[in-house]
């Protein structure tokens, strides 16, 4: 048979040469890293780079719109909002960071131990986590404030504890999956200690899951702390904090000056979105699957 050679054109993207598939796929990840890096810079160097004193009151320039002197405008007391947001990054981000690091460390430990030991240890740890799931983090934080008084320390500890089961449960299931793989069995039969197998081999291989959950804990912590600060239970004015700024700006909105709430909210949203996208990216970016046999 000698028919004309038919060329099939697939519906999309025939012979599309991307520069590199890996590079293109990672653009959002890189973008998120840049955003979070910039915020980290503000956390460390905020007070040094802020153009003006964030607490300098000047009632003559109260509630001004954005201008050359005040890029984000001023609040009701005439304080420079740009500087307040930059300086506020530290209190807004450090709390969630402590929550994320603590919850991830403890949660990972609990998850790996439960998955490795199984049996009654797993039952106790898993049931405890189930009970903790039933208590909302914010409620725990409210109770901590009620007992220990206002301030940031008590809610941070409460939220760190509340986030442990969220990390622990996911890490446990990832570790359970990993420990059934023959390579873990191989190390066991070679006589390595459980501690060493978990630390050197199991943990590094479930690290993407751990990091993803850690990033998620950071965003939960951020949002919950902001809520507390918004309600006036956490960081106290006049300390600049994004949640406090959103709260303080409410009155100004009614006077036709939404900048304070608007810009503080914008920074919150950017940080949360960047951290969430990043957590999804690293969670999905596990080791490439084995080629088919």
């Amino acid at each position: 048979m000698n028919s004309r050679p038919a060329v099939l054109r697939s519906p999309v993207g025939v012979r599309l040469h991307l520069p590199s598939r890996i590079g293109a796929a990672q653009i959002p990840t890189i973008f998120c890293l840049i955003v979070l890096g910039a915020i980290a810079f503000l956390v460390v160097f905020g007070p040094l780079v802020a153009p003006q004193d964030p607490n300098a009151v000047n009632l003559s320039v109260s509630l001004q719109g954005p201008s050359g002197a005040h890029p984000f405008g001023t609040d009701i007391a005439g304080r420079d909002l740009f500087s307040r947001i930059i300086v506020g990054a530290r209190t807004s981000v450090l709390g969630p960071l402590v929550i994320a690091v603590t919850a991830t460390a403890v949660g990972t430990l609990v998850g790996v131990v439960a998955a490795w030991k199984r049996g009654w240890i797993d039952s106790i740890l898993s049931r405890t986590m189930d009970v903790m799931f039933a208590i909302p983090g914010l409620l725990l934080a409210f109770m901590a404030v009620a007992v220990f008084g206002r301030g940031i320390t008590a809610p941070v500890i409460a939220l760190a504890i509340a986030n442990i089961p969220w990390v622990g449960r996911v890490v446990r299931s990832a570790a359970l999956r990993e420990r059934t793989l023959p390579y873990i069995a191989a190390y066991t039969t070679q006589g390595f200690s459980s501690f060493r197998i978990c630390l050197r081999h199991l943990l590094p291989n479930i690290m993407p899951t751990v990091l993803a959950q850690g990033t998620l804990a950071f965003t939960y912590g951020l949002v919950d702390l902001l809520a507390l600060n918004f309600l006036g239970l956490g960081v106290q004015p006049p300390t600049a904090d994004w949640g406090v700024l959103v709260s303080e700006g409410q009155d100004s909105i009614l006077r036709g000056a939404p900048e304070e709430t608007l810009f503080a909210s914008l920074f919150i949203v950017i940080t949360v979105v960047a951290a969430t996208v990043l957590s999804q990216r690293i969670g999905g970016d596990e080791a490439p699957a084995a080629p088919p046999a």
Binding site: Y183, A185, A186, T188, F192
Partner: protein, 282 residues
């Protein structure tokens, strides 16, 4: 047998099945299993899925505990092996295992040479130069070179990984090497390479093989003696050649009749009632 490398006496392993946390059923994966493997020998365990052969392998290397019965490797009792790392380390020198799936039997983040080196470090106190010399030697023994050693597992093909897995298992110089369906997931042309490698290694080392497989042709190729297992029990045992040339048990005959060969035709083997019976048990 004067001095068996492996001696299994009246072994029984029962798994308890829980349904919804309440209803329980006991399933004997292995029942009344008794056999010896002579030192330097190659012993085959023939069985399909559900025969209990993988459970047997996992008991011998210490990944499962027997319910009843005795397992001796070079005279050492399996019951000495507890959960402590020092006990497991001592047992590791008796029995090592090569797993079926070459794709997940290595830590994906560790270079092949590093994973062999890690084993050497745990079991022997060698100087760094002796150590890398030994790694090169082991890789060479299984037909791999430095380039393979430096690669991550995903950079190797299935056959190369299975060679590396054999090298890693031999690194400890175990008395007994257990190969659980070690060539089942390899391409035909690679399978023959590994089978030839295994017979060469038998000449070069003193290691004994316990070779588990469903594939009668592979069993014939590498083993001297064998047992045929079905649902946890031995149905036939003896010299491999004898079993395959003059099968006595209907199940062995059935297995042989199902191996595709020139002029072979597939046929209906067991009634569906039987299939259902097997299904209920698993």
């Amino acid at each position: 047998m004067a001095d068996p490398v492996l001696s299994v006496v009246n072994l029984r392993k029962v798994f308890t099945i829980r349904e919804g946390g309440r209803r329980r059923a006991d399933l004997a994966a292995i029942d009344e299993l008794t056999f010896d493997v002579e030192r330097g020998g190659a012993f085959g365990v023939v069985g399909e899925s559900g025969s209990g052969k993988t459970t047997l392998a996992r008991i011998i290397v210490g990944l499962e505990t027997p319910t009843v019965g005795q397992v001796l490797v070079c005279g050492g009792d399996r019951r000495q092996l507890g959960r402590r790392a020092s006990e497991r380390k001592a047992w590791a020198r008796r029995a090592q295992m090569v797993f079926q799936d070459p794709y997940s039997s290595f830590d994906p983040r560790q270079r092949v040479a590093d994973s062999i080196e890690e084993v050497l470090k745990l079991h022997f106190s060698l100087s760094p130069s002796e150590q890398s010399k030994r790694v090169a030697e082991l890789l060479d023994q299984v037909g791999l070179d430095q380039r393979h050693g430096r690669a991550l597992p995903r950079g190797l093909s299935g056959g190369e990984r299975q060679r590396a897995a054999i090298a890693r298992a031999l690194a400890i110089k175990p008395d007994l090497l257990i190969l659980d369906e070690a060539v089942a997931s390899l391409d035909v042309s690679i399978q023959s390479q590994i089978l030839n490698l295994l017979s060469d290694l038998r000449q070069e080392t003193t290691v004994s093989y316990l070779f588990l497989s469903h594939d009668l042709a592979v069993i014939r190729q590498v083993t001297d003696n064998a047992i045929v297992m079905r649902e946890g029990r031995i149905v036939e045992q003896g010299a491999t050649d004898g079993i395959l040339d003059r099968p006595q048990h209907p199940y062995t005959k059935l297995l042989l009749s199902c191996v595709p060969a020139p002029r072979w035709k597939p046929r209906r083997t067991r009634s569906e009632r039987e299939a259902a019976a097997v299904e209920r048990n698993t």
